[in-house]
């Protein structure tokens, strides 16, 4: 089997301890939540930190706090997150995103914080050392060129987190802690459009929690495209959240996943629906606008032209769902499994 490189493992019991240890050598240390992303990457020598700081022993990071909204510890596993009644009831889009990450086994280990910070992915990069040597490496690790687009000055690896687009659409914020203090920023500002420097998190910062705003009046939906009913990362996704004033949508947000190096806010598409009735025609116009924004690259599953087309379909489906249409049959076809939705939740009631 593939073997991990040698590294030092440190197990802090508090966030303060973790921050202090991280500050000792931030450039050559990595944080580990569930390890489902970092450890395979290390086996492939994509990342070779000398120190791993394991956050699993910090119980405070796995907690959830109810306030106006909800504050979720970054160390909470995705399995625990989707078992949380408040998530099922009030943040159904987040439930849909988290429940469709990888497989049950990986969700039992993987954390919400880890999924937010998930390394960007690319089929030229997510390969073992010998494979990457065979193409003389790429700029994301050990090489100079981006093989996805050889004239590109920057890395085009794709953002592959399911939860980030949805959290961004929900208007969530994250808290980052370091020995220098702590700061809060909107999820949208956590990401940068660069496959290598895809996080604005500083190397000495720890993402400790995610704050969800109050859910009253909000509806949300997350539609994910992947080849199979399990395992696969998204290759295109649409996250939609909106408040409804009668039948009119307010504070509408549409965020695309897996079509760029960061979650992509479809601002113009959202503006088309702001304060409007979500008629079929309007939804169609919004979906077209969103798809125009998507820039899928040939670095993941499916042909990029088709993925771009699918963005329109995904946005349309998500908007139909938040409008209140029963999309269960269509979801079943795409997801190949039952996925909780507003319609199924109201049917259950």
């Amino acid at each position: 089997m593939m073997r991990l490189p040698r590294f030092r493992y440190r197990a802090p019991r508090t966030v303060e301890e973790a921050a202090a240890w991280l500050a000792e050598n931030p450039a050559d240390s990595m944080l580990l939540g569930g390890g489902t992303d970092v450890l395979p990457n290390m086996k492939r020598r994509q990342q070779t930190p000398s120190t791993i700081i394991g956050l699993r022993g910090i119980s405070a990071l796995a907690e959830i706090h109810h306030n106006d909204g909800l504050t979720v510890g970054a160390g909470m596993t995705l399995s625990n997150l989707i078992a949380e009644p408040r998530i099922r009831e009030s943040y159904i889009g987040l439930w849909q995103a988290a429940a469709q990450v990888a497989t049950p086994h990986l969700r039992n280990m993987g954390t919400i914080g880890g999924n937010l910070c998930l390394d960007t992915r690319c089929t030229y990069y997510d390969q073992n050392y010998e494979w990457r040597k065979s193409i003389d490496f790429c700029m994301k690790r050990d090489g100079k060129i981006c093989w996805v687009a050889t004239s590109s000055p920057k890395c085009l690896a794709v953002s592959s987190t399911d939860t980030a687009p949805m959290l961004q659409a929900l208007g969530a914020t994250v808290t980052l802690v370091s020995t220098r203090g702590q700061r809060r920023l909107p999820v949208a500002e956590l990401f940068a459009n660069d496959g290598m420097q895809y996080l604005t998190r500083q190397p000495d910062e720890i993402l400790t929690s995610i704050a969800l705003p109050a859910a009253s009046g909000w509806r949300s939906a997350y539609w994910k495209l992947r080849r199979r009913g399990a395992f696969d990362f998204p290759v295109a996704a649409a996250a939609v959240a909106a408040q409804f004033d009668g039948t009119r949508a307010r504070n509408l947000r549409v965020v695309l996943g897996a079509v760029s190096s960061r979650p992509l806010a479809a601002v113009r598409a959202a503006a088309l629906g702001e304060g409007e009735e979500l008629s079929d025609e309007r939804i169609n116009a919004m979906a077209i606008a969103a798809a125009e924004l998507a820039k899928p690259m040939d670095n993941t599953d499916f042909e990029l032209v088709w993925r771009k087309k699918m963005v329109r379909s995904l946005v349309s489906d998500a908007l139909h769902e938040v409008r209140g249409d029963d999309m269960r049959a269509r979801r079943l076809q795409l997801a190949r499994q039952e996925v909780l939705s507003t319609a199924s939740a109201s049917a259950a009631r």
Binding site: M1, M2, R3, T123, Y124, D126, Q127, N128, Y129, E130, W131, K133, S134, I135, D136, I145, W147, T150, R227, R228, G229, A230, F231, D232, D301, F302, E303, V305, W306, K309, M310, S313, Q333, L334, R336, Q337
Partner: protein, 824 residues
């Protein structure tokens, strides 16, 4: 049919307990005292001359015991006698990214891993051949210095009757080109091997191999050792599907290392390396020209195939023949021309995967039949029912078919799926498709030509009442141990769990050629029946004499041997064995099986003959989103002509497993490659050698499957059994494509049938272009003059009229012809 008590009953398989409790000992579970670990250094260039290999740094890594290079492996080997083109470690050049160049043997895997990356190899890159078109267009540099011409490995051309006249006389000639992408076996268990020198100085190799006999031969040849000094033990395989039926470089490397170091040496490949071992489905482009009458009868078929062979020969010559071998055993095709060409490319070698060479052209034939039915305004099920080959016929290409349950299979799936009410009657986006297939129940000729049996079985009975059965057959998950035990238990009237099977061990068991070509149940089974009947005869003779009952009145059942006229009169099986042992001494018996001679006397006729063939029909239902091309399969109905199900639990498992694998091939699996821009790089790499990105269905992607078994015992099989391991895979891919046409009216003439391709065809349709996605044309190939063989019904004798006099029949058989008699 004689009533049976074990055969035909759904039973828990004899190796089930060990497997579900995790106690089965696979090759990687073997841990021996003083054992060392091996890692291979693999080529990072697709095609390059090796200028030097410097092992000095690696050899000095603490914990490294040995570093090997191609210098230690001067003797070539390969599965087919005509393609001994592999060396355990590359010597002069590398031929694909992943070709092994050097090996490190160290105290543990991690140390070997570190050291292997300290070997310095200097390469001189050569031109990269990424596609068959490259290999056809450029003769040099040659990937191998043998083969038919340039980078063409093999060309075959056979003609049975005047096909051109048959096509000219047809009312319609259908001309279609198809493409079937390569894919791989994806066994859950990665290949692993452990080698050691036993205290006598002999070599022992444990390996996850489907073919211990062929590995035995390859080790003897490549290590220049007497075969009698080598013992190969096939551990239970965690899946094979044809991917473990070649002798492999890693097996030979650990054997050599164990001999040199006199310590056990182990290797377990990682998943990337399994993708590099490959030997999977060949990518095949094919052209079918089929003449059909207005009544829906085929007058003749002209088939061309082009196979992308990858970097080595493997089973490729046989694979090439197989793309053209089995068309005639399904449907009555009175005249037939087949031309096939396999080229070398700088990719992992292709070989035998479940269905070996036949699924690709089965896809083309069954999709074309769907088009023919559409054109003739006939129901595709009815059309096929009207053209099924008659049972016991000798086909135009001299294959003798046995029983044919295909008509019943078709009727069964038509009935179960409510076909008549649904075909062409479902709303837009929903569709059903039908396809059929047939497959060998074991190849009629061995890989290495000889007159020896293909399978041997020995039985030992003793006073304990226990029976031990010995056979070289290999348990790869398909249930061969259970079939072996079930047959012996049936004949001797004892409980299967009172029988111990010793299998796949070249020291202890008589030769069985291996778990490939769907041969085990029929061949091993017949040998087991013979051995068990001989043992029963010995015991019956002794018991009859002792009890004063005529031996033929004795019944062996329920662990007793008793008088059929007076069941109370008898003894337990254990007492019976004691009586026999006292009377005749130690009790043993043997059985063996050799297939009947083939009627084909022409060169190339060695591929295709089988004692009998299985038949399958399937209906697949699809849902297609006309806006996106997204496709799902909610239901599959499948009926398989098994002859007789020895253990229906296993048979149904094979059928369902075939549907699973078939849907993977139909919808998503691709052994795809990345060719970097040639102006920047000569690199050619496997696109995604991982189980995450090589997409194979999960349980969530599986449909409901309705399986029916059609049982008409074939006298050629043990208790009437035919094969099931491969045939049920074959109709799935074309049935999916045909169902997509029924759903949205577009043809996807290539595998896999992906949403992108469906949508492209839908867009073409909207734009008024042909509603199709698939290859535009078949490449120009300078075919040789075909061998001309007159079909049997036109008075032929199985010989080619234009074949040069062969110097020696035996020599010819030992070469191309017999060696071609292989499959997965």
């Amino acid at each position: 049919m004689r009533p049976t008590r074990i055969i035909g009953q759904p039973r828990r398989r004899v190796d089930g307990r060990a497997k579900v409790t995790g106690q089965t000992r696979f090759a990687d579970d073997i841990i021996l005292p003083r054992m060392l670990h091996c890692r291979l250094l693999r080529a990072t260039h697709p095609h390059a001359r090796i200028l030097s290999v410097n092992t000095a740094r690696a050899a000095h890594v603490d914990g490294v015991h040995l570093v090997l290079t191609g210098e230690s492996f001067p003797i070539s080997y390969g599965i087919l006698p005509v393609s001994h083109d592999e060396h355990a470690l590359c010597r002069d050049k590398v031929r694909f990214v992943g070709d092994p160049v050097a090996a490190v043997i160290a105290r543990d895997e991690a140390t070997a891993d570190v050291a292997v990356n300290q070997i310095d190899v200097a390469y001189e890159p050569l031109r990269t051949f990424g596609e068959p078109a490259d290999s056809l267009a450029h003769d040099s540099p040659r990937i191998h210095d043998y083969g038919d011409h340039g980078n063409i490995h093999k060309m075959v051309a056979l003609q049975f009757g005047d096909v051109d006249a048959a096509l000219a006389a047809a009312d319609h000639v259908f001309d279609d080109v198809f493409f079937f992408e390569g894919n791989t076996h994806l066994p859950i268990e990665q290949h692993a091997a452990v080698a050691l020198k036993d205290p006598d100085g002999k070599l022992v190799v444990y390996s996850s191999t489907q073919t211990p006999h062929y590995l035995h031969r390859a080790l003897a040849k490549s290590l220049a050792m007497p075969a009698a000094h080598i013992r190969v033990i096939a551990t239970p395989n965690g899946g094979g599907f044809g991917g473990k039926s070649d002798p492999f470089n890693h097996e030979i490397v650990v054997a050599k290392a164990a001999l040199l170091l006199d310590r056990p040496v182990k290797i377990c490949l990682n998943r990337e390396e399994v993708f590099y071992c490959h030997r999977g489905r060949h990518p095949v482009t094919m052209r079918f020209r089929t003449g059909v009458t207005n009544e829906g009868k085929i007058t003749g078929l002209d088939l061309q195939t082009l196979l992308d062979g990858g970097a080595y020969g493997s089973y490729g010559v046989a694979s090439t023949f197989y793309t053209g071998a089995l068309q005639t055993v399904t449907y009555d095709i009175p005249r037939y021309r087949f031309r096939g060409c396999r080229v070398f490319t700088n990719k992992p070698p292709c070989g035998p995967k479940r269905g070996h060479g036949t699924p690709q052209s089965r896809f083309g034939q069954e999709v074309q039949l769907d088009k023919i039915a559409e054109h003739l305004k006939r129901d595709p099920a009815e059309l096929r029912l009207g053209m099924i080959a008659p049972a016991e016929m000798l086909t135009a290409n001299y294959l003798r078919v046995g029983t044919i349950g295909l008509a019943e299979c078709i009727r069964k799936v038509v009935d179960r799926s409510n076909w008549t009410d649904r075909f062409r009657k479902l709303p837009l986006g929903r569709g059903v498709g039908l396809a059929c297939s047939s497959y060998l129940s074991g190849a009629g000729l061995p890989i290495n030509w000889n007159d020896l049996p293909h399978s041997g079985v020995q039985l030992k009975l003793d006073r304990s009442g226990g029976v031990t059965v010995f056979c070289g057959a290999t348990e790869i998950g398909q249930g061969s141990d259970d079939v072996l035990v079930g047959i012996v238990a049936e004949v001797l009237g004892i409980d299967p769990f009172d029988v111990r099977a010793v299998t796949g061990d070249t020291d202890l068991t008589p030769v069985d050629l291996g778990s490939y070509s769907s041969r085990v149940t029929l061949m091993m089974g017949n040998a087991a029946v013979q051995a068990a009947e001989r043992a029963r005869e010995i015991v019956a003779g002794a018991v009859g004499a002792k009890l004063q009952i005529a031996a033929d009145r004795l019944v062996f059942a329920d662990g007793r041997v008793f008088d059929s006229q007076n069941p109370d009169r008898g003894v337990t099986f254990q007492e019976a064995v004691c009586i026999a042992e006292a009377r005749v001494g130690t009790i043993g018996s043997t059985g063996s099986y050799t297939p009947p001679k083939s009627a084909a006397q022409f060169k190339g006729g060695g591929v295709g003959p089988s004692p009998t063939y299985s038949y399958t029909a399937a209906v697949v239902e699809v849902d297609v989103d006309p806006e996106t091309g997204w496709v799902t399969v909610p239901r599959v109905w499948i009926a398989h002509d098994i002859g007789r199900a020895l253990n229906p639990t296993l048979v149904r498992g094979q059928v369902e497993g075939s549907v699973y694998m078939g849907l993977g091939e139909a919808l998503m699996e691709e052994q795809a490659f990345r060719r970097l821009p040639p102006r920047l790089s000569s690199a050619l790499v496997h696109k995604f050698p991982s189980m995450l990105e090589y997409k194979s269905p999960t349980s969530l992607d599986m449909p409901e499957i309705v399986t029916d078994l059609i049982e008409h015992p074939d006298p050629r099989g043990p208790f009437g059994a035919k094969e099931v391991g491969q045939g049920p895979l074959l109709p799935i891919m074309p049935a999916v494509a045909n169902a997509v046409y029924d759903a949205v009216g577009v043809r996807v003439d290539q595998i896999p049938v992906t949403p992108e391709r469906i949508l492209r065809a839908l867009q073409a349709k909207t734009a008024g272009k042909p509603a199709r996605s698939g290859p535009a044309s078949f490449p120009e190939i300078a075919w040789p003059e075909p061998l001309l063989v007159t079909p049997p019904r036109e008075g032929g004798d199985g010989r080619a009229s234009n074949e040069p006099e062969r110097k020696s029949r035996r020599k010819a058989d030992a070469g191309i012809e017999a060696s071609a008699a292989v499959r997965s």
